[in-house]
Assembly symmetry: C2
């Protein structure tokens, strides 16, 4: 039997014990749903993952797509996988009934998707981008665009991409040079080069809808002169049928370390007359629209990193339970039979670290998903706004902490398997490779850290920052009232105090010191804040577990809850104390990196 992709029990815990997902069924949007339909969705996802996606996970990694100069070729299994996801409704689970969706809460959709991602992430890479593209046009496009582009994407006829990065600009969107020239009929002609466009060309769908950031001729320089365009691979006739080829050419495929089955492309737009493009919303607001979508994209990146961490944990755990090797140091008899490696303390340490990282990260991503639900469907405008504020604040952490600690978990998964972890007979080395992209795409760790410290913390009179700390305080108060947890409550309260004083110190320093120097430790600040947030979510889990243990649960549940308490303890004893050192670097504005001159390297 293969190792479980995800822990069913843990997802149940997170959805129904840690976060009150059933309460969402009280909302009009989700009125048709109940726990049974939620569970059925997870069950469907698990089945698709195990029966359709898992069987070709390794093959998709081994046999990358190729480009013969005209078309992209990939193993046919991928289309089977993409179609299975679309047919099961899992490509657009949160979309409204009208657009063919299941109108499920975001948290349930995200939990269900975790099975698909754990089974390789190949097919969801294609469907997820399409959904993000469709969401963006639905939010900012006009009715004609929704009918022409969104509906075929929802039904699976068309695919979608996001075309932002350019060879000369990378993360520096202000410098992008793709241009758009307005035509008499109101359409545009778009010309320029884009790179690293995931799913930028393939034959999985009838058409590909590129959302392209470009500069209308004469627009202001910098980020304020960027507009958003729909540029399809094939033009579409008025009856919705696919027409002639647009000027969108595949210039080449990149060969990535991981996520190999998803094409990463260099695209050339409008090499002759310009590719036909259609403006989304208003001119020069493209980046704002794109960022609107980016919050959800960033949660998806964080989730993918967390889930890949969980998948590696589950796999190495399964291996450790069944692989006999060596003896404990305490074993005096050299002829005693070998023990399963899970008995070795260092193996337990590496499994526990994975559990603490991966399940902590997953809890954060599901919490963020719940905030998306609240942002969209909470009862009052005030509640929706509060959820938006908190989510907006947490987004750089949701994107980054799992992206940095997911790969660390995968590092340990390999180490648990030893030499077997380094070869492709086991998937943990693939997880390690796949996960390495997450600290880079959708905004690198460095960029997220500047977003957090420079924008999100002070924004709107520290509204998001304050809201986040308030949530943490609530859990501290609850834990403080429980005998088994009060010491951890005190530790987290101390950590929050330190976080506050560090925040004051670093922001104060921006008044008197060079801002580049002050921000040279912004990554440590993000890591520190992330550790406090993850510690909070572990204490929140511990509160649930500790209460549940009082009810004398049956044995399997008792063991599950004890594992939660132990992972919390691991995070508090081994991980959380690290913030003291980081706080000093940040708060005292250590300028070691800033002072290093280019010529000294």
């Amino acid at each position: 039997m293969p190792a479980p992709l995800m822990s069913d029990r843990d997802l149940e815990f997170m959805l129904y014990e840690l976060f009150d997902t059933e309460a969402l069924t009280q909302r009009a949007q989700y009125a048709d749903h109940n726990r049974e339909t939620f569970d059925a969705t997870l069950g469907t996802a698990k089945t698709v993952a195990e029966k359709v996606l898992l069987p070709f996970r390794q093959k998709a990694d081994n046999e990358q797509p190729t480009f013969d100069g005209e078309k992209v070729h990939m193993i046919p299994d991928i289309k089977v996988g993409v179609d299975a996801i679309i047919e099961s409704g899992l490509a657009t689970p949160t979309a409204s009934y009208e657009t063919g969706g299941m109108q499920l809460p975001y948290i349930v959709a995200n939990a269900a998707t975790s099975y698909l991602v754990a089974a390789g992430g190949v097919a969801t890479g294609y469907t997820g981008l399409t959904t993000a593209n469709a969401n963006l046009i639905e939010a900012h496009g006009n009715q004609e665009q929704i009918e022409k582009w969104v509906h075929p994407m929802r039904s699976g006829r068309f695919a979608g991409t996001m075309a932002m990065t350019e060879p000369g600009a990378g993360s520096g969107l202000a410098d992008l040079t793709t241009t758009a020239v307005k035509q008499a009929d109101g359409s545009f002609r778009v010309s320029g080069s884009k790179i690293f466009i995931s799913g930028g060309d393939h034959e999985l769908n009838e058409n590909i809808v590129h959302l392209v950031l470009a500069r209308v001729k004469g627009a202001p320089k910098g980020v304020k002169g960027i507009s958003l365009f729909i540029v399809p691979k094939f033009l579409v006739n008025d009856d919705g049928s696919v027409g002639e080829r647009n000027e969108v050419a595949l210039a080449g495929l990149f060969h990535k370390m991981g996520g190999r089955a998803q094409t990463s492309t260099a695209l050339s737009f409008g090499e002759q007359d310009g590719a036909v493009g259609y403006l989304v919303g208003e001119e020069n607001k493209g980046l704002m629209y794109m960022f609107h979508m980016m919050n959800e994209a960033r949660i998806m990146v964080g989730s993918s990193a967390a889930v890949t961490g969980v998948a590696g944990y589950q796999y190495s755990l399964d291996y450790a339970k069944e692989r006999p090797q060596g003896r404990l140091l305490s074993e005096k008899d050299p002829h005693a039979p070998p023990v399963n490696i899970i008995e070795h303390p260092d193996i337990r340490r590496m499994l526990l670290a994975q559990k603490a990282y991966a399940e902590g990260a997953l809890a954060l991503c599901l919490y963020g998903s719940y905030l998306v639900d609240d942002e969209k469907t909470a009862a009052t405008e005030e509640e929706r706004q509060a959820a938006h504020t908190l989510l907006d604040f947490l987004t750089p952490i949701i994107k980054t902490w799992p992206s940095e600690y997911g790969p660390k978990a995968n590092y340990f998964a390999i180490q648990v398997l030893g030499g077997h972890g380094y070869i492709n007979e086991h998937p943990v080395e693939m997880f390690y490779r796949d996960n390495r992209l997450n600290p880079i795409h959708e905004g690198t760790t460095g960029i997220q850290s500047m977003d957090l410290l420079g924008r999100k913390v002070p924004m709107n009179g520290f509204a998001g920052y304050t809201a986040c700390l308030n949530e943490i305080e609530k859990t501290i108060a609850l834990a403080a009232s429980r005998d088994n947890l009060s010491a951890y409550a005190t530790q987290l309260a101390d950590a929050v105090t330190l976080l506050k004083s560090t925040t004051e110190a670093v922001l104060g320093a921006t008044q008197s010191q060079n801002i580049d120097a002050v921000f040279s430790n912004s990554v440590q600040y993000l890591e520190m804040f992330g550790h406090v947030v993850i510690a909070w979510l572990w204490l929140k889990q511990a509160c649930v577990a500790d209460l549940a243990l009082e009810q004398q649960p049956h044995e399997a549940d008792e063991q599950f809850y004890r594992g939660k308490l132990q992972a919390m303890q691991y995070f508090f004893r081994i991980e959380l104390p690290e913030i003291r050192h980081w706080a000093k670097i940040i708060g005292e504005v250590d300028t070691t990196s800033y002072d290093m001159q280019a010529a000294w390297f």
Copy 2:
């Protein structure tokens, strides 16, 4: 122009300013040598690396060897590379003139090899194993064996491997089951399966000499019943010509995440009558012989990890100097041109971290190499014994610290390049994959940590431990006398004090507490000790740099020395303080991992 593989200036610094390599020319063994011959060796290695190896580095990674059921096929470039290394004398630089070597000091050989490893490590993977095998037979075999097997390996006719690991045993050598049955003629018949045998089959040489650990029928159980055998792929006639095929069959190739051009094989010995094998030395002493060779093998693993770290640092540094993107936060004019990314503080942080990790690790490995020279050629038996004691003590650190921090350096190299770091148009993602094996092979990090804490620290009345701390004290005393360094001297002295008290506490705990619990933090202990040792080597480098700066060097040298001081500062401010937290975990015997029960995961 491609990025430099290594920093020539830094190798010069390490060989002639940090360590007194020229002093070695006073020894009889190296009497023919001088700085010019040393530099010529490095120059040869650099040329072979740049002209022969580098051109096929990527190709060798992309096109793995295949097995058609009869033979192994690989790109022909690899044989060209192996032959170039052999012809230039770089396969056996330390071997005596009589056996065809250049009789060079180990530290010079290791520095020269760094260029070859940075150019891909493919060819040195084959030649390095052959040399290790030849060294072992030379040390423990008889004269006939040396003539029959060692000479053809030294000349490049034969290749060599180490066949230890078995499918059922992995790191648990006590449980290996390969058997050897003595024949009337004194030879043996060997039967069993081995896995992960690097270079276990190929067509690069006329013959492959496997050194196989096996159990003579009737031998004691456990590690005390293991013997070492020469088992060649082809039998060899009395005239030295290659004879008929021995019963050594390739069962299959493994597909590794990195180091892909080197075959990793499953070998089947003696499927019918038993493979012909020849006992090395005495029965049941095989593991002792193998461990004799393991010290050098472990230095090679550490060096390889360090060099791969340096190579990624050099590459990402070169990229950062030439890649314009974005603006500094302090830039008020949004229309200012983009800066090269090396100007961004977070990029500098990631480059400085790489420099601190990789050059710190390299200094440690070259120090270890110098100890090998002292162990072999120091003037008195007392000095040789002292070097042996110190080297034996440091070996788990030399093997492990670079293996753990080399990949961390490569992580940052990828991050500096962003999306470009994730694709195979640049080598940093390959470095990241290649380097991931180093914490696993030749004894995992977990095993090294138990060796350090359980064996090496208390061994011979703490002789190695004391010798190591004495060396550190010398540097502290020197640094304390220099105005620019005295604060760092104090910090390192405090770290040593903490290391001593932590060592006492943890060893004391073994008297009263369960040994498995006490050792559950042995990896942190190794990491702590490693950090103190690397801090020491950075302070040692800083002493040289600080003194050199007093001499008003020309500008390029001034910048080089300032970079050394800044990297030292980085290690002391950002890295070294981490040990306080680890010391607490170790000294107080945190049992979080130990207490975690298998059923709770």
